[in-house]
């Protein structure tokens, strides 16, 4: 696998994620979530930001601008996917998607999730990686950065879980399943009857996250077990917890992990 291929797949995932996210925001806007009395009201946000520091920002943060940014983001994402499929540089569409995403995130400043962060990272290093592709090493450096961020995400989350008594005791997984927001009634019932399943699942997640750096140390082909475990992890989260954006952004960056692992001789 080449750096260009790995970065292309990562960008593809980010662009698909951007299309889904923009469509979601358009739906939320139609459902009055951006109006007075909604979750991200235009007037409240522009009043807070505009007069104090950025008097011109109001126009960019209006509902009309938000709507246009979403359509622009969808169009540019589809153009970016086409560019990647045709082997054309996707820098221009990536720039548009990044700008539209940045504007959206200024407007929708709460209710975000980890998948949004990973989208941002992929877009920025994708722009530089493809924009300066003629310079040897730049695309590879972009891929290495994404691989490092993925590793950091797992290790950091694993370490944070070590500080949680519910994670250590094995209750956390059952508690997450037993909630409307991220849970799953079927799994919640199962875990209520078999508490040990919660402990095993919770500790397995912690083990996977904490030991993820071993992916770079373990010999081939055993190291790839980490990628398979990660794929299963993100698909499970998408299906069971209905957090699907992670699949498009995190798993799409896995080729970067694969690429970086190729650099080690063992």
């Amino acid at each position: 696998m080449t750096p260009s291929q790995a970065l292309s797949i990562a960008c593809l995932g980010a662009l698909v994620g951007a299309v889904i996210t923009s469509t979601e925001f358009l739906w939320l806007e139609r459902r009055l979530a951006m109006s007075k009395g909604g979750f991200w009201p235009e007037a409240l946000i522009t009043d807070e930001i505009s007069p104090s520091r950025l008097p011109w920002a109001g126009a960019f943060l209006s509902n009309a601008a938000l709507r246009q940014a979403q359509w622009l983001c969808i169009a540019a994402s589809l153009a970016g996917v086409a560019c990647l499929a045709l082997g054309v540089s996707p820098v221009a569409p990536l720039l548009v998607v990044a700008a539209a995403t940045a504007l959206t995130q200024q407007r929708i400043r709460w209710g975000g999730e980890g998948g949004d962060h990973m989208t941002n990272l992929i877009l920025v290093v994708g722009i530089v990686g493809f924009g300066l592709a003629a310079i040897p090493g730049v695309t590879a450096a972009s891929c290495a950065f994404l691989a490092a961020q993925l590793t950091l995400s797992y290790v950091s989350s694993g370490v944070a879980k070590l500080f949680g008594s519910k994670w250590r005791s094995g209750q956390a997984f059952a508690e997450i399943m037993d909630s409307y927001t991220y849970g799953n009634r079927v799994f919640a019932n199962l875990l209520r009857r078999r508490a040990w399943v919660s402990a095993v699942a919770g500790h397995a997640v912690m083990l996977f996250q904490l030991t993820f750096p071993l992916y770079f140390v373990a010999p081939r082909p055993y190291c790839y077990a980490y990628l398979l475990a990660g794929l299963a992890f993100h698909l499970s989260i998408a299906v069971i917890m209905r957090l699907h954006l992670f699949v498009y952004t995190f798993v799409a960056a896995y080729p970067c992990l694969f690429l970086v692992r190729q650099w080690f001789p063992w």
Binding site: L28, L32, A33, G37, G38, V124, V239, L243
Partner: protein, 192 residues
């Protein structure tokens, strides 16, 4: 470009930027630093990867409200409890909170629920308990937002109070915990 000496410099600068970016991202995982770094991270480029840790924190948040007719002394808890016309606590329902889920593709409602969760935590930090009148940050964005949300579903002239409550689990009868309790507000007016 690749043959020019400047190419090496560009690569070196880019790698240096990525190293600094990664170092800041790593620092951002520590709460003490993340609070400081958040001020500079206007474009969400410094991720914080905690994912349901250390506390899974998966209580379901609900915005609820009640209204009181004119004439009821809302500062008097006993009168408030016995006066006629005071509504029971009602759940704030918004079109953006109900919608279909299509696994692996579609669930926009999660962002609205997360917005309530984040705003509630902004008003009262987790673990602070029901802070009543003193601990609630009334000038916070979240407080103003929730007040506007509830005001949009109440009648002009009425007085209303809202609260963020949390429950856990799918059980039909489950305990509700008040997390934030607002003052009474007059529709189109100020706190009372």
């Amino acid at each position: 470009v690749s043959g020019l000496p400047v190419a090496g410099w560009i690569l070196a600068v880019y790698v240096a930027i990525l190293c600094i970016w990664f170092a800041l991202s790593a620092l951002n995982q520590i709460r003490r630093f993340s609070r400081r770094l958040a001020r500079f991270d206007r474009f969400g480029l410094l991720p914080r990867w905690v994912f349901f840790a250390p506390d899974p924190g998966v209580d379901d948040p609900y915005l609820v409200y009640r209204t009181a007719p004119p004439g009821v002394d809302v500062g008097n808890a006993a009168e408030l409890a016995s006066a006629s016309g005071v509504s029971p606590w009602l759940e704030f329902r918004h079109p953006a909170l109900s919608g279909r889920t299509l696994w692996l593709l579609w669930r926009p409602t999660r962002r609205a629920v997360k917005a309530v969760d984040e705003m509630a935590r902004q008003i009262v930090p987790p673990g602070a308990g029901l802070s009543g009148k003193n601990g609630v940050a009334k000038m916070s964005f979240g407080y103003i937002l929730f007040t506007e949300m509830v005001e949009s579903v109440t009648e002009p002239g009425s007085r209303f109070q809202w609260a963020v409550v949390r429950s856990h689990g799918f059980a039909r009868r489950r305990r509700l915990r008040f997390e934030v309790l607002s003052d009474f507000h007059r529709h189109g007016g100020h706190a009372e």
